[in-house]
Amino acid sequence: MQPEPAFVLHTRPYRETSLLVDFFTRNYGRFRAVARGARAAKIGTKKLNPYTQLLIGWAGKTELKTLTHVEQSSSPLTLKGDCLFCGFYLNEILIRLLAENDPHEEIYDNYAHVLAQLAGNEPIEHSLRTFEFSLLEELGYALVLDADAQTGEKISPEKEYWFEPNIGFSLKEGIYSKGASANLFKGGELLAFKNHDFNAIPLTAKRLMRLALEPHIGEKPLLSRNLFSKLKATNTELIN
């Protein structure tokens, strides 16, 4: 077998000296493998770090593979500061959203790209939104941002639309209760979103992506997101 490009999404200790590793490979999708003796430095945990492009080989016919070979194919990306949490977030959504053994080359390439952006200190929000957007698209949950889901009419920039996850946007009718306003979007914002102009509407873009990802993430909340917001909340509290 040719060495396969892969990223480590997550590792956890297994038995005395081994690791259970969730890999995201380019041509075979996400799967889990045992790295035998990895903690005893036979393969070396140092190599099995997240955010580093690896070339791996594995064996085994069951669901749990055995890692046979690993090497770094690029120098490791060092994510610093808040980007570390963003990395956690990306890995967490990939683990939640990707089915096992379901290859998605596009997502893999986008993932490699967004990691490089995070390591290169590019604006975090824009990189994350682009990745989330393409992730949904690749998985077949693409948002229709230019047509009303019920009538099929074109989205008009001046009107307000109600977003129903998994269905789409429909023209706002009647008066909604205050608590439900998270699902309301202006037509203009949707069109900006469609053009990947996330910088113009950072908060709205974040809200929309959160709503759109929600049904696919499952019931448990994303902890990496909490981590981020908690840190920001305590800091603003202290500043004020």
Partner: protein, 204 residues
């Protein structure tokens, strides 16, 4: 009976073997050897082991200051008045604490997280006692917080999280240095470590 089945002595011995297997690095064969060793000739050792296991499981708790394992309410390190109260070193596990103690260079006090931030495993700041740590920073007169978490992605993230929270309390935060190990030859040091070593080089 199947070949390789170790259940052949009756329920009590079987239970003992099964219990020994819960220890790290102990498989069925070693568990069997340990059980037979204790029962054949070393009953006194068996009694002593049983008594100390029970006592430890009953009485060992966590230090209310640093969260490390101890049988008293505050551990020996935290109650030692000769330790520098101005420095606090954050480590992930009691084993890390021991490693630093054995190096004999640090005279301050510790805080043991008993883990690291790992959102995918469901471990957030509450689980590793960061609120408790921050409370100590604001209550006690600590001037330097030394972050000695592991140099893994999770350890780095934990260090970053703590440093952000600690800076807000006005405490100076430092991170242990990382680079080429003692006796290490550059040729065999991995690229990541080398690039760290270069970026944090110092004037001599």
């Amino acid at each position: 009976m199947q070949k390789g089945d170790w259940r052949m002595f009756g329920p009590i011995i079987d239970e003992l073997i099964a219990s020994l297997r819960c220890l790290p690095g102990v498989g069925p064969k070693s568990a069997q050897r340990m059980a037979l060793y204790l029962l054949e000739r070393h009953r006194d050792v068996a009694y002593r082991l049983a008594a100390s296991l029970e006592a430890a499981a009953d009485k060992i708790g966590r230090c209310q200051l640093c969260r490390t394992l101890t049988e008293t309410s505050t551990c020996i390190l935290c109650s030692n008045f000769r330790r520098d109260p101005l420095q606090l070193c954050v480590v992930e596990t009691p084993a890390d604490l021991l490693a630093i103690e054995h190096s004999g260079t640090y005279r301050g006090r510790y805080f043991v997280l008993l883990g690291h931030l790992s959102p995918i495993d469901g471990i957030g700041p509450e689980e590793i006692g960061i609120d408790h740590l921050i409370a100590r920073l604001s209550e006690e007169n600590i001037t330097e917080l030394i972050l000695a978490t592991n140099l893994t992605v999770e350890g780095e993230a934990t260090a970053h999280y703590i440093s952000e929270r600690a800076k807000a309390c006005g405490v100076a935060v430092s991170r242990i240095a990382h680079g080429v190990p003692m006796g290490g030859e550059l040729e065999y040091v991995d690229g990541g470590t080398l690039s760290h070593a270069f970026s944090s080089r110092k004037k001599i």
